[in-house]
């Protein structure tokens, strides 16, 4: 018989080992899945874990997808650490992209490069405003932030859909639901020739550093997390839970909106109904797998980006549906949560007799 025995202190070893074990289990399930589908599992693993890193160009593409995931996850980490369950980052991402896209559409032939700054700021503010709705309803009406933020994803999706099918539709676009392609001047600056990696990556990494300082080196960051760990202690210390709520939601909303702006004025270059790519949901997994730690999330964002690229390659090379990405992402979070049990508990093997004695 197995018995879980609480550890006196959370295990530091398992805190780091659990994501790796979860990844290993996910890979094993993946191999079984490939075999069940009659595909060569070695090839399957190759498209997920080797193809995305084998050339400089592939590495660049890996970073292009990891960038929004990391930016959104950094914001979500602030939320989850303060026990605010914002699961609507996808909606905040969409609104960020919409507002940024709206600014980008204002550009014409004579616009200067400053427009990029306006786009990025607008996207961030858009995401903040959308998350602010959730904060407002939670603060003033005590409405559950999980459900409100999630419902707002569907609303945001419809706002985008309305605009690209309606007022913002490109008149010269053969009636396709899309805006006109943004002027070249709106393009987020790229880091180097021949790769789509933009300054977004630099922003993401600076964000990770900023988050590290905020969480572990400032009083505000400390106050933010105490409320999540021990609400009573936070009250005693005089830390405002309302303030923590607003900071958490505005930070994560702003981050998701920024990611949306970088995406729409970067790789996408126009608004279409396909702006939402699930980054907002995948970033939740990035945040958890990365242990809500800035450094951990850099690695998990790259891993999740591999899942995205692997899914696309599995479609084109192996004839498997792209939705394999979602299967593996979900599996990873599942196994991670199970493996995390090892952090707080020790597994003891007991004979039925000993178990009886223990009870």
């Amino acid at each position: 018989m197995l018995k879980l025995e609480p550890r006196p202190q959370a295990s530091r070893f398992w805190s780091l080992a659990s994501p790796l074990l979860a990844l290993a289990i996910t890979v094993v399930i993946g191999v079984i899945l490939f075999m069940a589908l009659g595909k060569d599992p070695v090839k399957g693993l190759q498209v997920f874990f080797w193809e995305p890193i084998k050339s400089p160009y592939a590495l660049g593409e890996l970073m292009v997808k990891a960038t929004p995931l990391l930016i959104i996850a950094l914001g979500l980490a602030v939320c989850f650490r303060s026990n605010v369950w914002n699961i609507g980052a996808e909606g905040q991402f969409i609104i960020g992209a919409v507002v940024a896209g709206g600014v980008a559409l204002l550009a014409d032939k004579d616009t200067g490069r400053w427009i990029v700054v306006a786009i990025v700021v607008a996207g961030t503010l858009g995401g903040m405003a959308w998350a602010g709705l959730t904060a407002l309803l939670r603060d003033k009406f005590n409405a559950n932030e999980i459900l409100v933020s999630l419902m707002l994803v569907y609303v945001a999706d419809m706002v985008l859909s309305y605009l690209v099918y309606g007022p913002w539709k490109d008149p010269g676009g053969y009636n396709f639901p899309q805006t006109k392609t943004f002027e070249a001047v709106t393009q987020i600056p790229r880091l180097m020739q021949g790769s789509r990696v933009s300054i977004g990556l630099v922003i993401a990494l600076l964000g990770a550093a900023g988050l590290w300082i905020f969480l572990f080196r400032t009083r505000a960051g400390f106050a933010q997390q105490v409320g999540g760990l021990a609400p009573a202690a936070a009250r005693y210390a005089g830390f405002s839970s309302r303030k923590a709520l607003w900071i958490a939601l505005l930070t994560s909303g702003g981050a998701a909106g920024l990611a949306g702006a970088l995406e729409v004025a970067g790789p996408l270059g126009q608004l279409t109904p396909y702006v939402p790519a699930g980054y907002g949901f995948a970033a939740i997994i990035v945040a958890f797998v990365g242990r809500l730690h800035p450094v951990g999330m850099i690695f998990s964002a790259i891993l999740m980006s591999m899942f995205y690229i692997g899914g696309e390659l599995a479609q084109s090379r192996l004839g498997l549906p792209k939705s394999l990405t979602g299967v593996f992402q979900g599996l990873l979070l599942f196994t991670l949560l199970a493996c995390d049990t090892l952090m707080a508990y020790r597994i003891r093997f007991m004979t039925p007799m000993a178990l009886k004695g223990a009870n």
Binding site: P6, Y165, G166, F281, L331, L333
Partner: protein
């Protein structure tokens, strides 16, 4: 007038989907467990039910398959949160994300499939009454089963001994444990039952409500069902009422489109989601009211001997 009778009928039908799922979640929550995986379970059971009907031609086998899929996923969720003490929110979220991915993956072969001719039902005599007949008595049997389920659940929760034990497990698992009840097994049973009902709702969507398979077709109904339990302050009869109300909001958009109201369709599609937010805010406005009605140990882990 005839069109309003049909609108009413469609409202009951749409409400039934939400009611069945929300009643399942109510059973979970009465035992102290929040399962945010409703949407994922419903998606997986939708494709399970749809695929079963495609292959067997039997709707009821499809419903059974949906219930089986929902129960299986709920059991995995239950094992994680009840025995391994994982965070209920995070685990439910994992289930919803996994369910969305897995159903899309498993359903790819069924996107173009069609179901055999959908059955029509009418209760003899009653179904022929003008207006009332088409409004009330020409429904799929599931609509009446949902009403029966509410009646049974009221009896079960508030009049039966097992129901009392179930509620005690959600209110105070420590006391229930001290009295010698197997708290964790009871919670697992409640979670599996809730999953089976969510599964039934999911299968009903893909087999009867909108008989086809489209990726993500549950479209947030699992989340709305979750909001419904709060909206109903955890009372079965109010769950049904709330479900019909939201069913009505969902149908309103088609009605508006039907009579040619000049509002972009996207704004009408938003309605059920916005209604959920507004209602949730109004109901939750008074925290004391929620605290009195909510199962006291909702969302809290229980580990015997700790």
């Amino acid at each position: 007038m005839e069109s309003y009778a049909l609108l009413f009928a469609a409202t009951l039908n749409a409400g039934t989907v939400l009611a069945i799922a929300a009643l399942g979640l109510l059973i979970n929550e009465k035992a102290g467990i929040v399962n945010l995986g409703a949407e994922g379970m419903m998606l997986c059971s939708a494709i399970a039910g749809f695929a079963t009907v495609v292959h067997t031609g039997n709707d009821w086998l499809g419903f059974a398959a949906g219930m089986g899929a929902g129960a299986l996923l709920a059991a995995i969720f239950g094992a994680l949160v009840i025995w391994l003490n994982t965070n209920q929110y995070a685990t439910g979220l994992a289930l919803s994300l996994f369910g969305a991915g897995f159903s899309a993956f498993a359903g790819i072969a069924y996107v173009q499939e069609k179901l055999p001719e959908r059955p029509h039902f009418s209760i003899p005599l009653l179904g022929d009454i003008p207006l009332v007949g088409p409004a009330l008595f020409r429904q799929h049997p599931m609509v009446y089963l949902a009403i029966a389920l509410v009646a049974w659940l009221i009896w079960f929760l508030y009049r039966s001994r097992t129901g009392l034990v179930l509620r005690s497990v959600g209110e105070s698992p420590d006391s229930a444990h001290a009295l010698g009840y197997p708290v964790r097994r009871i919670r697992l049973a409640a979670v599996v039952a809730g999953g089976a009902l969510c599964g039934l709702a999911g299968a009903y969507i893909a087999v009867i409500y909108t008989p086809l398979w489209v990726e993500g077709m549950v479209a947030g109904k699992g989340w709305i069902a979750l909001a419904l339990t709060t909206f109903a302050t955890w009372r079965p009869a109010r769950v049904l009422l709330g479900a019909y109300l939201f069913g009505g909001v969902t149908m309103l958009q088609f009605h508006f489109q039907g009579i040619g109201v000049d509002i972009p369709s996207q704004f009408l599609t938003m309605l059920p989601y916005i209604a959920t937010i507004v209602v949730l805010a109004l109901i939750s406005r008074n925290p004391a009211w929620i605290r009195i009605n909510m199962p006291a140990s909702l969302g809290k882990p229980f580990y015997p001997g700790s």
